[in-house]
Point group: C2
């Protein structure tokens, strides 16, 4: 087990009607805020109206900036930074999924650090501070509500880049599973794929002796798989299934599950290029990349893949043939993703395999990827090719 530091300061407020506490939580930080969301379903559902009512009651004033899109865009971030500076706002409240929260984080960072905000994403500058961010989550997926991560797309490229810093961890996160009842099935599925991937990135490590976190990862993955099954068999409004998924999505990415170990994160980088070039949803891209990444790595640490197959997917037989068990586990994972409507191959999402060399080149932009197995451009290309088979 590696040495580690762990601290998660995000106050989680979980359960029914919790969005009505947003005013009293926010006013502890600021009286003038930026209210940031897509302008779509949170408005239509009446959520934004309830949020405003709660803010008003608490004496919090807001300037509204909507228009957040999936894979949030730098141009909107820049607009947000301008508004925050001009209006002297000192808190960003995001209402939505990972895109709204990440967009809010980028605004919060850009508003109090000099220079071009994109330079922080390009690793030319580093930021140590940001305005406080609060989140009301409507799409359990990215785990951004209690994570240090922030991913933004610069449409000039397009380049999709991520940064991580403790100052980007939201101060509070409000999670009401009822808000997820009306999510389109595709978005629910993308979220499930995303949170599974966050755990798998941490689970596949070569660090020996990380038993507790292995157990926590496996338990969280089993919980997601079981409850996804409930939601996708008529349980769209099953509160408890939605609640398990929502809480698992937050825990999947708050770094508890990485304590004592180092994550891989190559698959996320490979997926980022799929979303940047083809506009495919993050979760859908991950469902395509992960099985291919595992197949490419089947000899890398076969016992771990066999354990994954047994503990997470219920595969027997690892006692006799680890590789066979590992392959069976990957197959069950693909079946699971298909069962919730996720693609697992390029063809399922109509991605153009002819662009694989370009994808590989872009993914290699910052050099080799991963820690479980270091991937060079030829490895990356090979993984894309398996996904395109």
């Amino acid at each position: 087990m590696q040495n580690f530091e762990y601290c998660n300061k995000t106050k989680i407020i979980f359960g029914k009607d919790t969005e009505n506490t947003v005013g009293s939580e926010t006013v502890q930080y600021a009286k003038r805020i930026l209210l940031h969301h897509s302008g779509g379903s949170p408005v239509k559902s009446g959520l934004i109206a309830r949020v405003k009512e709660s803010l008003k009651k608490a004496g919090v004033e807001w300037v509204e900036l909507d228009g957040v899109q999936p894979n949030p865009l730098l141009s909107l971030v820049l607009k947000g930074i301008d508004i925050v500076k001009k209006e002297k706002l000192n808190f960003i409240l995001a209402v939505g999924g990972g895109s709204a929260i990440d967009s809010a984080k980028a605004i919060a960072m850009g508003a109090v650090n000099d220079g071009d905000v994109w330079d922080y994403f390009e690793r030319k500058l580093t930021a140590e501070k940001a305005l406080p961010v609060g989140a009301i989550v409507t799409i359990p997926a990215a785990g951004s509500e209690s994570s240090v991560s922030c991913v933004v797309t610069n449409e000039q490229g397009p380049w999709k880049r991520s940064i991580k810093h403790e100052c980007l961890r939201p101060v509070f996160a409000i999670l009401n599973p009822e808000l997820t009842y009306t999510l389109p099935p595709y978005q629910t599925a993308c979220g499930i794929s995303d949170m599974m991937s966050h755990i798998m990135e941490r689970y596949f490590t070569k660090e020996p002796h990380v038993e507790l976190t292995d157990e926590l990862c496996e338990g969280a993955m089993r919980t997601i798989i079981r409850n996804a099954g409930k939601i996708f068999s008529g349980g769209e409004k099953d509160y408890d299934a939605r609640a398990e998924i929502m809480w698992a999505g937050a825990l999947a990415h708050n770094n508890l599950l990485s304590t004592g170990r180092i994550g891989d994160w190559a698959s996320h980088a490979l997926d980022h290029e799929l979303t940047a070039l083809f506009g495919i949803a993050h979760g859908a891209g991950l469902a395509i990349i992960f099985p291919a990444w595992m197949r490419y790595n089947i000899k890398e640490d076969t016992p771990r893949l066999a354990r994954f197959a047994e503990k997470v997917w219920g595969v027997d037989g690892a006692y006799y043939d680890n590789e066979q068990a590992a392959l069976e586990g990957i197959g069950r994972m693909e079946n699971f993703f298909r069962s919730i409507g996720m693609p697992v191959k390029f063809a399922d999402a109509n991605l153009d395999a002819a662009r694989i060399p370009e994808l590989a080149k872009r993914a290699f932009h910052f050099g080799p990827l991963g820690t479980y197995r270091i991937l060079y451009e030829k490895d990356i290309e090979a993984i894309y090719r398996i996904a395109a088979e």
Copy 2:
């Protein structure tokens, strides 16, 4: 699943040599502190000398108060409060196990709240603030290093009382598994029993649909059981086994494992009377109480006890006979406790069964206990009697 709030602000600094960061962590809060410990093994081992070196380097001055005993005493707490006030100290650094940390928490609370500090434990007064506390953990057990709990014994009674408040959560906790290599086996075992109990208090709930936390609880218990086995079969200096136990001990009591559910805590109350009247170690008392509590509750929610038997103790056969599986699980738990040198019956620890009515009366002091099953004085007495069979 119940609504919940969850936030854990304790900064965990985990791993080899981490005690050497204590100066740089402490100076972020204060320049004049109370250094609080037992005066025994942390001094002999050289740990206190290393701590002082680190504090000195960081420019932190200290006043030292040693003498902490297991089941920390009110008299020392009062002495600490006097010193802190007189010397105008504004941080308490505890070095030791749960006793040192709890004693530090009580001092931290008493130093900045008016009135008799014992009145807070008697629930006559409530405190909302305390000085910041930091901890260097030498005995993984109580989980006090990242919990809101504090237990102190008033030797006038003796009465053992606990309080819980967010202001009592340490600001940092330094956990170096190497510091636990030289623990006497009995203390290691008491700690293991204590952390298992913290999880079991949370695990036995009637709240339905708490799958994720069930999984996390079960995974943590399995990890503790496996690694206890390693330590007690020649692995006293097995870093990774000690590390799994130490990290599990902190997670067991930081409230993550209670999210969405309500804990029981009756067994802790029953144990408190054993330690108050007989001076038995907390962990040893819990190893006696828990099997008896489960046997008394065998009909209360047999499927949950059967699940516990299967998931935690590897018992098969719950498909046919839940009660038989549950009993087998309790038996395996008793065997486990015995295997690490814990008592599981009154006789194993030479406790006087004639005092059971007095124990029951004392345990009922604040009224009925528990939430899983509400226990009245006759129930409490019956559980003690099972433990004395």
